[in-house]
């Protein structure tokens, strides 16, 4: 657990303390996150559930360094990331975080290969190494034969597998997924979950999955429930 002074306990990769996230909606202030304290150890598998609008996506965006909390402290692997500037955040995102979206977010004009390659390109990695890594990733996810296909030539499950390959290509220690099965039928949804669990099990990736689906949420060893921007339950088995 985190102490009041915010001292970190060895082994934790994510440490949120007193995190608020306010949104100004006209006159009204929405507290999407209100006093969230959360510590996640390296290699954990966590599911986040809760009603719509309870702040699950906001929590994931803050953890992904895509959104800044209004108040509170976020320590990511010994670094207080609330103090970083935008360029440092982009770098931290690139190196530590993989993100899988509900609606895939693949670039329509790029092939599956190019989509997976994108984070490596942004990171300035040499083409030869990019080719080797992307080819391997596509093989591991069983979509090597779809490398030259564009997203509109792929099924939903294949698209999400491309997205997972992209999220994992930089070998991040944290993999975040916001309703990854929300747009998929149950069979391909199960496949996608299976792939992410394998990354967690075999490569020790810290996995956080936001989901509506109780069956998906139950699979995680640690299950968090949110309500009105607060963590109301945190059960480990």
């Amino acid at each position: 657990m985190t102490t009041a002074s915010g001292a970190t306990v060895p082994g934790s990769v994510i440490e949120l303390s007193g995190i608020d996230r306010d949104f100004q909606l006209g006159e009204q202030v929405v507290h999407a996150l209100a006093g969230v304290d959360l510590r996640i150890a390296s290699g954990e598998y966590v599911s986040v559930m809760g009603p719509s609008g309870s702040g699950k996506s906001t929590l994931l965006n803050v953890v992904a360094l895509m959104d800044r909390p209004s108040r509170g402290r976020y320590v990511l692997r010994d670094t207080d990331v609330t103090a970083l500037d935008d360029d440092e955040l982009a770098r931290a995102r690139r190196e530590h975080i993989g993100f899988v979206f509900q609606s895939f977010h693949l670039v329509a004009r790029m092939t599956a290969f190019q989509n997976v390659e994108l984070p490596l390109t942004l990171a300035g990695i040499a083409p030869a190494e990019r080719r080797a890594r992307v080819t391997r990733a596509l093989e591991e996810l069983g979509i090597a034969d779809r490398a030259r296909h564009r997203p509109d030539q792929l099924s939903g499950g294949q698209r999400q597998r491309v997205a997972i390959a992209r999220a994992g290509i930089m070998r991040p220690e944290i993999l975040l997924a916001d309703e990854p099965t929300g747009n998929l039928d149950s069979a391909s949804g199960a496949q996608v979950i299976d792939i992410m669990e394998r990354l967690n099990r075999e490569q020790g990736v810290t996995l956080i999955v936001v989901t509506h689906d109780a069956a998906v949420g139950e699979r995680a060893r640690r299950r968090i429930r949110m309500h009105d921007g607060r963590i109301v339950a945190d059960i480990s088995s």
């Binding site: 895509m66 935008d86 975080i97 670039v107 984070p119 930089m170």
Partner: protein, 402 residues
Amino acid sequence: MTWRDTLALAMQSLGAHLLRTALILLAMSIGVIAVVLLTTLGETGRRYITDEFQSLGTNLLIMLPGRNETTGGAPPMLGATPRDLTLGDMLALERSPYLDKVTPVLVGGAPVSTSDGLERETTILGTTAAMQRVRNLTLAQGTFLPVLDPYRAAPVAVIGETIRAELFPRRGAVGEWLQVGDRRFRILGVLADEGVSVGVNFNDVVLVPVASAQQLFNREGLFRVMAEMPAAVDPQRAIADARRIIMLRHEGEDDVTLITQDSLVSTFDRILGAVTYGIAGIGAISLLVAGILIMNVMLVSVAQRTAEVGLLKALGGSAGIIRRLFLTEALLLSGLGAALGLAIGVLLAMTLGYLWPRVPFTMPAWALVAAPTVALVTGLLFGVMPARRAARLDPVVALAKR
């Protein structure tokens, strides 16, 4: 991200919107073509006209009867016609130490014909032997007009190349008789092909002794007196001396206009140079328009690709990377447009040169550098705003855009 990858991504994005890309390239290249062609025409006109005057020969002094109002001085008295320039004036000028060769010009039109019955209307120039030196005339055949007393008429003539070709298509002209008006002249020589030179087409002219021309046209007064100044002489001193000599002979009246080749060339050079810069400016405005077009298209592109920008940021792309990507797209558009425009512009200018080989088409080097430079700079300037707008996007908000 490496610049190679930035370039590749930018090109891929341009390639994904081919029609849009093609339209911008078209606009940009039209701007560059406009600059290249307009400045080529301006520069060619300037060259052409200054070359024309240059071909008069340096150190040439031309005297016209009458005072040129535009050069200042009192306007001529109402109804007063200027005093004629006479052969006496010409001979007096010949005695000036500041003038070398002096030659009169008397111009008229007359029908000329041969014994074969071939006939045409042409320009008759009455002059003296000194004309050959003053205008640097060369002969294709025969000899020029002989040195004669200018007051003496003589039935001899020198003809231009066109006259020879039309009146003596199948036989030698030298030694033949040529009927000019009501007189006959023996042809002494044929001028080499001279081309058009400042209004006088020496190919289409018959030169006769000045006294003969005076009789032909029943006219005393000369059209011009031309003189060559020695190279060492300051043109202003020669002009002053010529003016002094004429005033002495014209009862103190300064009633002639004096022109040097130098003053003509520099005046035309100045005017036409300004015209060239002016039309280059007009061309540059079209480049500006193309730049604004690029900005608008880039702004629309940023709006359409908001989700993509959000994704790039979510995947770890920094604001700098996003900015460089969009700037590269703008620069590619303007650079490719400029290259295309330059190629087409130069090709068109060369086609003009091919279609009219006698016009010395010249592309000004400064325009070939300035046009693409202005294109790139406008592309960069107008690309900055959309690029910054993209770079500032918040990843979460941008990703939520569909």
